[in-house]
Symmetry: C2
Subunit: 158 residues, 2 copies
DNA sequence: AATAAGATGCATTTAAGATGAATCTTTTAA
DNA sequence: TTAAAAGATTCATCTTAAATGCATCTTATT
């Protein structure tokens, strides 16, 4: 049960942009450097985000990428749904290619659907503004924090 | 966002066993034939389920596999948790191998945890007895049924 | 022009997962 | 006590999605 790195990077890129001061413009190279990942890969991530309408791109000198909408108007569920290629939890979710003989009366399938909807519902509660926020989420985060939160390191852009 | 086929087959195998009449014994070969899948693969699935305590195996002539506990005592969440190898939704869930610089203050990570917990909570509501049940789940299933339910085909074991 | 940026297409690599084959062990029954 | 039926184990191979890299193209600015 994993999301692709592609989706992970999509979210990280959006968070990076959302945390920038006005006008929120950055180059792909800058973000790739920040996260120490392949520029090639991130170019494709940026492309996909642009095609899905999450970011705008500006070519040429002085260009770069920026959010196409305010961060509070970008739902996390929306990003995942449009970025993650394969949302077929199990074979039978992909009806044309299903081979499972249980298909006609499978309580399990219904249950897995329900679980997936519950998953997405949580993401749908939050926006990129939440994901990019730096304060106010300690209560939530603390439950899972493996490293004590250091308020001096709360900004992505250093 | 997918579960492995390994997990899918684990669940299918358990459902098969749960639907058998007493004493609920079947051979791996029989189940592999039923689902038209590799016996080798299913052997490994059965092995894993035996190691996790979900089924008992009996070697030798007349042997086979059967549930180690009653179906109502086998939680679906438990099965998925013990069967799915990698539950690290994104890189940063795997703390030793994480490289994401956002780790210290990532609202996103907390959100993804919350989403994953919501997913598992749904599975934890149900047991193998539910998954194997043949009647009474139409209301739930109907919402997602792409094929009209045919009550003559409701039994796995034909 | 020259340079800086993103866009695109193709090729390659990688790793997880799936599959296959061979052999071993246990148990039953003839 | 041997043969056959069943699961257990190990190793090797295949497959495929995802990731990565490279080359080239397009657009925009100076």
């Amino acid at each position: 049960m994993q999301l692709t790195q592609f989706t992970d990077l999509s979210l990280r890129l959006l968070i990076y942009l959302a945390r920038l001061p006005e006008p929120g413009l950055a180059t792909i190279a800058e973000i790739a450097d920040y996260h120490q990942i392949s520029r090639n890969h991130l170019v494709k991530v940026a492309n996909s985000l642009a095609n899905e309408g999450f970011i705008m791109t500006t070519r040429g000198k002085g260009g770069g990428i920026q959010l196409a909408r305010p961060a509070y108007a970008i739902g996390l569920g929306e990003v995942v749904r449009r970025t993650e290629q394969n949302m077929n939890l199990v074979e039978c979710f992909d009806i044309p290619n299903n081979h499972c003989r249980l298909i006609r009366n499978c309580f399990l399938k219904a249950t897995l659907y329900e679980a997936q909807r519950a998953f997405m519902s949580v993401l749908d509660k939050y926006t990129l503004a939440d994901a990019a926020s730096v304060g106010g989420n300690n209560g939530i985060f603390d439950k899972h924090a493996e490293i004590p939160i250091d308020s001096n390191k709360l900004l992505v852009v250093e």
